[in-house]
């Protein structure tokens, strides 16, 4: 589980505040924009505030830089991540930008490949978790009644079982997890908080007049959900995705660090695992374990900061005065 699970569920109880404040998670606080202000004006307003929000700009820049490294980085690597060269234990040099490991593999090549894996797993995990969260959250919130009861119970069960522990057991028995499988597992286990928050959001929207009108016109439920409800939560959904994305990166880094991650692809967690198990710390090989940690911190931290920025943009009350 990641810290983004800490997102509290203030809205789940019907929330006196309009906003879901974030938990320790990283901090996103999100708000459902009132439908009345969803106008062209509002979009200009969004842009106006977006380009003036330092947090958004900073977070976005960090994430974009990391993304560029993930895209371009591997192309610049002179070696393959699994290739054994004849320079062992060497600190960073012009030949090996990030130095080499104890058995002569290029740390930069592993790092660049790891960055790519991080974005891949974040995307797969984030998308799957968002889809499940939306299906469960919208259905529970829209249908209410017995469907809601059952879905909420399932959500609560998943919420309490630590995803980390389940992954541990599954990965312990699976013999080789690939990045997509790992992303799938992470996604399937990290949706509950988001579903719970979405359910509450949907509840409060359904109570509003315009949804009632749509219901009266006997439209298909999913049509109402995707035409009327979801667009009104687009900013919320976007921020939710960002947190799930960052969360997937953190969970997978933990699993990989324990040595249960992919065998044939480099990830940042796997790099830390190899540095740890091969005594990189004691042998003073800082160039081996520092870069992957900084990269994860930068991506996840950048996403969190971006999220707070977005929140301030969407929610005028939070803007700095």
């Amino acid at each position: 589980m990641t810290r983004s699970d800490q997102k509290h569920d203030g809205l789940a109880t019907g929330a006196s505040t309009a906003a879901v404040a974030s938990g320790a998670a990283g901090g996103a606080a999100v708000d459902v924009p009132s439908p009345k202000v969803r106008t062209i004006n509002r979009r200009f307003e969004f842009l106006y505030f977006a380009i003036r929000n330092n947090k958004l700009i900073l977070g976005l820049s960090i994430v974009i830089i990391c993304f560029l490294i993930a895209i371009i980085g591997p192309l610049l690597a002179k070696y393959s991540p699994f290739q054994y060269t004849t320079s062992y234990w060497s600190p960073p040099s012009s030949r090996h930008w990030f130095g080499t490991t104890q058995d002569g593999r290029d740390v930069y090549a592993q790092f660049a490949a790891g960055m790519r894996s991080a974005f891949l797993i974040g995307t797969i995990g984030g998308v799957i978790a968002s889809v499940v969260a939306m299906l469960v959250g919208f259905t529970a919130g829209y249908r209410a009644g017995i469907v809601d009861e059952i879905l909420s119970m399932v959500t609560n069960i998943f919420l309490v079982i630590p995803a980390f522990a389940v992954l541990l057991v599954i990965a312990g028995f699976l013999h080789n997890v690939s990045i997509p499988v790992e992303g799938l597992l992470v996604g399937l286990l990290s949706w509950p908080w988001a579903a719970r928050a979405l359910r509450a959001q949907t509840f409060s929207l359904v109570a509003r007049d315009f949804i009632g009108m749509a219901r009266l016109s006997a439209q298909n439920s999913w049509r109402i959900i995707f035409r009327e409800i979801a667009p009104n939560m687009s900013s919320y959904l976007f921020m939710m995705f960002i947190l799930l994305f960052g969360g997937a990166i953190l969970i997978s880094a933990t699993i990989d660090f324990i040595g249960l991650g992919p065998q044939f692809t480099f990830t940042l967690g796997k790099m830390m695992n190899e540095a740890q198990t091969n005594s990189g710390l004691l042998l003073g090989m800082w160039w081996w374990f520092i870069p992957p940690g900084i990269a994860i911190t930068a991506i996840v931290g950048g996403l969190y900061i971006m999220n707070v920025g977005l929140d301030e943009v969407f929610n005028p009350r939070l803007r700095e005065m």
């Binding site: 901090g27 069960i157 630590p162 522990a165 967690g269």
Partner: protein, 332 residues
């Protein structure tokens, strides 16, 4: 109130049943037979075929794997209620429950203080920082960095800095192996000395999260109607902040309940980095030795621990927020 707890207990019971079922099913759903692998491993430790056979028949009997699935499932439950989590492979013939029992004090000793202190300090500092420019500009970036840091990485950086480079602290272990556990100040001091770095790394990561959460919550509260109203009435700023803090604390506590699973995960990897003899290190050796029974047992233990912790947080929530007594009676 009673309904609220009844509901919570129902959720937890269902969760427990689900967890046990998952735990029981996973080895049986996975490709290959883990018992085969286990026997093969034990086989490497016996010198003759006869010895291997004796050990393998022992395991087949212990786990009753030739019986129908539903019998196996019921047996699993029965064994569970007798506190029987199976026999460890890596520490054969030690029961898994004994291994876990030995590791618990270290993990709890790390987790509980880290959770409580980081929750307390994070909330205080976050509240102070909200809407105070200078503090906010220092606390906020620091907290974001901390909360985005993978637990294991912060642990590695601390170990490298304070135990390898400067040698202020020991690099591993729960206490100096030359000492024998005893009720003495010397031993207690040694325990603390080994405890400090793993504690610090757990504390710091969590601290960042709570500080950000509280800082954001306070800002919401300060910008809410009741706060503006109070201010318009001329209430002192300090009083308004106090109310804001009280209100902001409640969502933080529900956040705590949700965070426990993640924190436990963090504690496990932190233990691994420091070789701290708790459940995390036990899990690592279970994985390295393909000790499936230990992995299953530890999984169940973690689930139960998280359930209990959640329940404690629920109780705290009710104690702290009188509204829930009324609010929760209505169910959802």
């Amino acid at each position: 109130m009673r309904r609220y707890f009844a509901r919570k207990l129902l959720t937890y019971s269902l969760t427990f049943i689900a967890a046990v079922t998952v735990d029981w099913a996973i080895p049986r759903l996975m490709p290959g037979n883990p018992i085969d692998d286990l026997l093969a491993r034990i086989g490497t430790r016996c010198n003759t075929r006869e010895q291997c056979d004796a050990i393998s028949s022992y395991f087949y009997n212990v786990f009753g794997l030739h019986k129908p699935l539903w019998v196996q499932y019921l047996t699993f439950w029965k064994a569970l209620f007798q506190g029987n989590l199976g026999i460890s492979v890596m520490s054969f013939p030690e029961p898994v429950s004994t291994l876990i029992k030995n590791a618990i004090p270290y993990t709890l000793g790390l987790l509980v203080p880290a959770i409580l202190l980081s929750f307390w300090a994070g909330n205080k500092v976050g509240a102070l920082a909200a809407r105070r420019k200078i503090l906010d500009n220092t606390v906020l970036p620091l907290s974001y960095t901390l909360t985005a840091t993978p637990y294991q990485w912060l642990a590695m950086v601390l170990a490298w800095t304070f135990a390898v480079t400067w040698r202020f602290f020991p690099i591993s272990g729960g206490y100096d192996p030359l000492r024998t556990p005893s009720w003495s100040f010397g031993f207690a001091g040694d325990l603390l000395y080994h405890w400090f770095l793993p504690f610090a790394s757990l504390f710091l990561v969590q601290f960042g999260g709570w500080a950000i959460g509280m800082r954001n919550m306070i800002i919401y509260e300060l910008e809410s109607d009741y706060a503006h109203y109070l201010e318009a009435l001329g209430a002192p700023r300090k009083l308004v902040r106090k109310y804001a803090y009280r209100n902001a604390l409640l969502p933080q506590i529900s956040g705590l309940a949700l965070a426990i699973g993640a924190i436990v995960g963090g504690a496990l990897v932190t233990e691994i980095v420091f070789g701290y003899p708790g459940v995390g290190s036990l899990i690592l050796s279970a994985i390295n030795n393909k000790d499936y029974f230990a992995i299953q047992g530890i999984f169940l233990f973690i689930i139960v621990g998280v359930l209990i912790a959640n329940f404690i947080v629920d109780i705290m929530y009710v104690i702290i927020d009188p509204r829930t007594r009324i609010g929760m009676q209505g169910g959802s």
